[in-house]
């Protein structure tokens, strides 16, 4: 490395780019595919070059001083290693291309190599012998190829031939530039090698590679040697002693722009191989897992499956080590320690080595990445199923983490990890949970809570109980919802409903985060489905009503992005929305849901429709979505045979309205989606029974005015119900005053005594309703007014205002309580009214004075 070499080196960069560009266009005139990839390479290379250039310049300037301080050297070292590796890689590609006589590829690779060397020169490093050797080899083989080409009858194709000549010319040109070095190298390869090495005595490993690589003359042999030696060379580098140093280097490079993440992972894997002590292993594992998660920089894409699997394995390994060695503990917050020093329980004060890191965050991330990959994979392909199989392993890892935290008694992460576990099993049917638990059972590290005598409910219960006890209210809420969901899934509607009502979640859920709200929606929907399966039609209808009224079922269940008609989502919103989506296997089938909702609406609404007679009442629908569909179906001029689920239900509704319960039953039972419902036969049977009953009710409502008496046995025959159930149904209707009739037991008939309201009476009734509504409105505004007046009237004494507030509250409660009993409500209302007026009047008189 002498100053007189600088002349040609300087000249090279100026000439090269133009040349290479020209060559490029010449070389790939026919293969656009190749050119595009190459262009990418080019641009990325150029970027790299540019990124490095400032440093290079700096170094260049510094080279005149022939002096650089330690820090700079270290930076140079790692960079140089990398460059050498790159060069070797291109060399290899060139060799491979030579074998198949692909000169186009060689040309490209050679260009790359030249550029790399140029860069090396920019940072004032000598030309590596490897390069010179390649140059010589290339010249030889190029000449040979030309000769061969001339001899052989079959010509090379045009582009290849062109590339060959280009390479030849280029090699010649470059050879001229490096004439002196080449000469020296040819005279004494060993000596040159030594010289080259000598410049970097301190940083031995890289030149060592080149030295060893040089040994082989035959190309193929060299190739093989090359790879093995490359590994060997690294093995030298990564000794147990230097682990921490390497770790630090890797960690410093982490997150920087031009860091090659794959390379880092490879280095860390090597380090892990050589790590001996648990401390080293833990440290390397922590870094390795972290860098695996770093591999994907963008939030949108998911981790490749192989990376994820190895990360999962490593997390397992980490947990195993920590569980085995109680003297080591991984904590998120530790005292500062020297990163470069080896530590063991003996060196620490209290015999416990604390290492900075967080297993729970790895587990969390692992789980999140799993979900993310499921979100991104097409759910109808085999890939999805394959990916789903990994859940077993993930579940195991989570359980192991739980066991670990149980052992170390860290409450907070334990809660989180249990929540993760719960989220994996709460929505799954029993066989799946059993399978998951079976794998856990085979594991060496077992959490305290495992499946016992295949009772999934007890497993869920114990997990939830643990979370209820933990202090984290969010976890408590989520655990509660999961618990309810599980009960609902197992058709235990009443328990689930009671739990939901007792939790009072419906009051506070609006303040919860989106994920919890989604879970809440799912739980409510599942509750509705469970009610439906249990045959509790009214409950099912009421539960599902809310979510269907919004008409955004898919969005609320996070099973699809809602298309807003009048506003466009910003890309960020849409991205966030997409991230929220549940993976496909967690979905609740919305079509089944809709079918359940519409059928229960039908069973509730049709008798109601039949029972009301005035136009006014007709407007008050219980289920608006159903009513809308029904109106639409009414307006249809021609109705074909039913196709969709909705068609089925609408036609069934019509049949039920007309009293044709058998047709209705057949239509409902022929809906295909029921097959997705567990215990579908039982559900269908239940539906048939309900249809019979509601058909009877509808019939009575519709045709009662036309009868004076109606025989019970005829009714029983028409609706093929037992006389007993007909009697009970009719009595019930009479009792609830839906039917103005009496039962004549001796004759076995219903005697109707219908009283028609006169117009005046009807009007008077509506008037009474209206006035009632107005009074209520007035009271509400009066309360509001008093609330407001509290603030400006009683500002002087806050205590009084408080008391007033309590009073209004108390009054409201009283109002609620007595709303059922009308008489009581009157008194309360009157008192309230008087009170309000009194205070108003007092205010007035004061003002008047």
């Amino acid at each position: 490395m002498s100053s007189d070499e600088e002349g040609p080196k300087q000249a090279a960069p100026a000439a090269k780019p133009a040349m290479s560009r020209f060559l490029k266009s010449a070389g790939d005139s026919d293969s656009s595919d190749e050119s595009s990839s190459e262009e990418e390479e080019m641009s990325s290379d150029e970027e790299q070059q540019q990124a490095r250039r400032p440093g290079g310049r700096f170094m260049h300037g510094a080279s005149s001083d022939e002096e650089s301080d330690e820090d700079q050297k270290r930076v140079v070292k790692s960079a140089r290693d990398k460059r050498l590796d790159e060069m070797e890689a291109t060399g290899k590609v060139m060799d491979n291309a030579l074998k198949i006589n692909d000169w186009v590829a060689i040309s490209n690779e050679f260009e790359k190599l030249v550029r790399m060397v140029q860069r090396q020169q920019n940072v004032a490093e000598p030309v590596p012998p490897f390069y010179l050797r390649t140059l010589i080899d290339l010249e030889k083989s190029a000449n040979a190829a030309v000769v061969k080409d001339k001899e052989s009858k079959k010509k090379m194709n045009a582009s290849n031939a062109r590339a060959l000549t280009a390479v030849k010319q280029k090699v010649k040109k470059v050879a001229k530039e490096f004439e002196s070095e080449l000469k020296r190298f040819q005279e004494d390869p060993e000596g040159f090698e030594r010289d080259f090495q000598a410049t970097f005595v301190s940083e031995a490993p890289a030149p060592a590679k080149a030295k060893k690589a040089k040994k082989g003359n035959d190309e193929e042999e060299e190739d093989e040697e090359f790879t093995t030696v490359g590994k060997g060379g690294k093995a030298i580098q990564f000794t147990p002693e230097s682990i921490f140093k390497n770790l630090q280097v890797v960690q410093e490079a982490r997150g920087k722009k031009n860091t090659d993440r794959a390379e880092q992972i490879r280095i860390l894997e090597k380090l892990l191989e050589v790590a001996v002590t648990p401390y080293q292993q833990i440290r390397v594992l922590l870094a390795l897992i972290a860098s695996r998660f770093d591999y994907n920089s963008s939030v949108a894409t998911h981790m490749p499956a192989e990376l994820w699997l190895s990360a999962q394995k490593e997390v397992d390994q980490l947990i195993a080590i920590v569980a085995k060695e109680p003297a080591y503990s991984i904590q998120e917050i530790t005292e500062d320690y020297d990163d470069l020093a080896e530590r063991s329980p003996k060196t620490e004060k209290d015999g416990i080595v604390r290492i900075r890191g967080s297993v729970i965050s790895f587990v969390d991330r692992l789980d999140d990445e799993f979900t993310k990959s499921l979100q991104n994979i097409d759910p109808h392909g085999t890939e999805y199923v394959d990916r789903l199989k990994d859940e077993k392993g993930l579940y195991c890892t989570i359980c192991r983490a739980q066991a670990l935290y149980e052992k170390t008694k860290q409450e907070d992460p334990l809660g989180r990890v249990i929540m993760r576990r719960l989220e994996h099993i709460y929505s799954k049917p029993d066989p799946v949970v059993l399978a998951l638990e079976a794998t856990v059972a085979t594991n060496d590290l077992k959490p305290s809570v495992v499946l016992s005598d295949s009772q999934t409910s007890s497993l869920i219960h114990s997990l939830c109980v643990h979370l209820y006890k933990s202090g984290n209210s969010l976890l408590r809420t989520r655990a509660m919802l999961c618990h309810i969901y599980h009960y609902a899934l197992h058709n235990d509607f009443h328990t689930a409903r009671d739990m939901l009502l007792m939790s009072h979640l419906q009051e506070s859920i609006h303040n919860a985060d989106v994920a919890t709200q989604i879970l809440y929606n799912r739980t409510v929907v599942q509750l509705g489905l469970s009610a439906f399966r249990c045959g509790l039609i009214k409950e099912a209808q009421a539960t599902l009503q809310d979510i269907f009224a919004t008409q955004r079922v898919k969005e609320l269940l996070a099973q699809g992005v809602h298309q807003q008609r009048y506003q466009v989502l910003t890309p960020e919103q849409e991205k966030a929305e997409r991230q929220r989506q549940l993976p496909f296997h967690m979905h609740i089938n919305t079509e089944l849901l809709e079918a359940a909702f519409l059928v229960s609406s039908m069973l509730v609404e049709i008798p109601l429709l039949a029972s009301i007679d005035s136009e006014e009442q007709k407007r008050k629908a219980i289920s608006k979505p159903f009513r809308r569909l029904l109106d639409f179906a009414d307006r249809q001029v021609f109705t074909g045979p039913p196709e969709s689920t909705r068609d089925h239900i609408m036609q069934a509704s019509k049949a039920l309205q007309n009293g044709e319960w058998e047709k209705c039953r057949d239509l409902i039972q022929s809906i295909k989606i029921w097959s997705l419902m567990p215990e579908c036969a039982a559900v269908k049977e239940m539906l048939a029974k309900r249809i019979q009953e509601e058909g009877l009710r509808t019939y009575l409502f519709t045709y009662a005015p036309h009868y004076r008496t109606l025989s019970l046995s005829l009714l029983a025959k028409t609706f093929s119900l037992s006389l007993r159930s007909v009697t009970s149904l009719v009595s019930k209707m009479i009792w609830t005053e839906e039917l103005a009739a009496a039962l004549d037991q001796s004759a076995g008939v219903v005697v109707f005594n219908r009283v028609e309201l006169t117009r005046t009476q009807q009007l008077a009734q509506t008037l009474a309703d209206k006035v009632n509504a107005m009074v209520e409105q007035n009271e509400k505004s009066l309360d509001q007014r008093l609330g407001v007046s509290n603030t400006w009237n009683d500002r002087g004494d806050g205590g009084k205002g408080d008391k007033r507030g309590e009073q209004t509250q108390e009054r409201n409660r009283r109002g609620d309580r007595t709303r059922g009993a009308r008489g009581g409500a009157r008194g309360g209302r009157g008192a309230r009214f008087a009170q309000g007026l009194g205070s108003q009047m007092a205010g007035n008189t004061q003002r008047n004075r």
């Binding site: 009007l763 008037l767 006035v771």
Partner: protein, 373 residues
């Protein structure tokens, strides 16, 4: 329409008559009664029989409660003496500019013609038909407000209840606007605070004036002839009964509950309630709008103050406190006149409903006790 009406009205005749001799023409006995300066306050209204019959006829013939016409007459010694009236054509869509103009032209030509035949031609108010006691509406108030300004002594409104008349008692009431309402009306301010300040409710929009009907001898004798000439309808239809008890002819008409109008009444009150509810909804919406704007303005002011405080602390000159009203358009407080009028209507309907219902109830109880015995 009101504006057009006003345009054709004669200017207030407060200007002293230019001709001095008229003073002399007034007899001493009448000198006290005739006030050219309009100084004597009006205390009562007197309707001539011809006006009564004209109004009744018009109200019965006009569809709904749309009967509407002008009153002509004089004020004499604190009494409006209404001596004549004529109906005005009714247009379905009052908003139409053309119809308003046509109305004005008709009114002008009518008054001119009356003058030509030497009849009374000085307008002293208008009359309005109504059903079931409800007469509050925006047009009435607007018209009367204009009259009150333009006419001598402010004019008067006569309202005539058609439904009462069909039941046999001709109902005429005379009203004029109260001072408090007129004040609020002039300022065009019917916000809550203004209502409180003026102590306005629907019952205080109008003040009633005593009204009497003057029949001249000819009319009296005609009426007398009418009552004598018509035999009881019950006796006529049932001659057998009439012959059996000639002393007191049985009349079942007294047992009539008089509920023929009740459905209509109920419908109207329901409608009025609905309207009121809508109006309330509008008001509430506007109130919320105002509250929102105010909150925004307040936060802006608070922010500016805070900023100024920090600027002062940093030694910088404070930013000017701009006029908030310019930045934020706080909508004016909504007028509650409409809802007040609606309340008045509801009240009137309620009252008439109560009237019929109570008499009906009494009759029913009476028949029940009779049936028991």
């Amino acid at each position: 329409m009101a504006a057009a009406l006003a345009a054709t009205l004669p200017a207030p005749q407060s200007a002293p008559a230019p001709s001095a001799p008229t003073y002399e023409a007034i007899p001493a006995s009448m000198a006290k009664v005739i006030d050219i300066e309009a100084e004597i306050p009006i205390t009562s209204v007197q309707l001539d029989a011809i006006v009564v019959s004209k109004i009744i006829k018009h109200a019965r013939e006009a569809p709904g409660s749309s009967a509407h016409g002008l009153l002509l007459g004089l004020d004499l010694d604190g009494t409006f003496e209404v001596s004549n009236s004529f109906p005005l054509p009714h247009h379905a869509n009052d908003e139409d500019d053309k119809s308003a103009k046509g109305l004005a032209r008709y009114q002008g030509s009518m008054l001119r013609s009356l003058k030509e035949v030497q009849a009374d031609d000085s307008v002293i108010g208008f009359y309005q038909g109504m059903t079931l006691g409800s007469f509050f509406n925006q047009t009435l108030v607007d018209t009367q407000a204009i009259h009150q300004e333009k006419l001598r002594h402010g004019g008067v409104v006569i309202v005539h209840d058609i439904s009462q008349t069909t039941r046999g008692n001709a109902s005429f009431r005379a009203f004029r606007l109260t001072k408090a309402f007129l004040d609020a009306y002039k300022r065009n301010n019917f916000s809550t605070s203004s209502l409180i300040d003026h102590r306005l409710t629907f019952s205080r929009i109008l003040e009633e004036m005593p009204l009497k009907i003057r029949t001249n001898a000819l009319v009296s004798s005609f009426l007398g002839a009418l009552t004598e000439g018509s035999p009881s309808p019950a006796t006529e239809t049932n001659p057998a009964l009439a012959s059996s008890s000639a002393a007191i002819p049985p009349s079942y008409s007294r047992l009539n509950l008089g509920t023929a109008n009740t459905p209509r009444n109920l419908e109207l009150i329901t409608e009025a309630l609905d309207n009121y509810k809508t109006e309330e909804g509008n008001l509430a919406y506007l109130q919320r709008q105002i509250a929102r704007e105010k909150a925004r303005a307040d936060t802006y002011v608070a922010k500016r103050k805070e900023e100024n405080a920090s600027r002062v602390a940093a030694g910088l000159p404070p930013l000017p406190e701009e006029d908030v009203s310019r930045l934020f358009k706080i909508p004016p407080e909504p007028s509650r006149l409409e809802s007040m009028l609606l309340l008045g209507r509801i009240d009137a309907y309620g009252k008439s409903l109560e009237e019929t219902a109570s008499t009906g109830l009494v009759k029913m109880y009476a028949s029940k006790t009779n049936g028991g015995n």
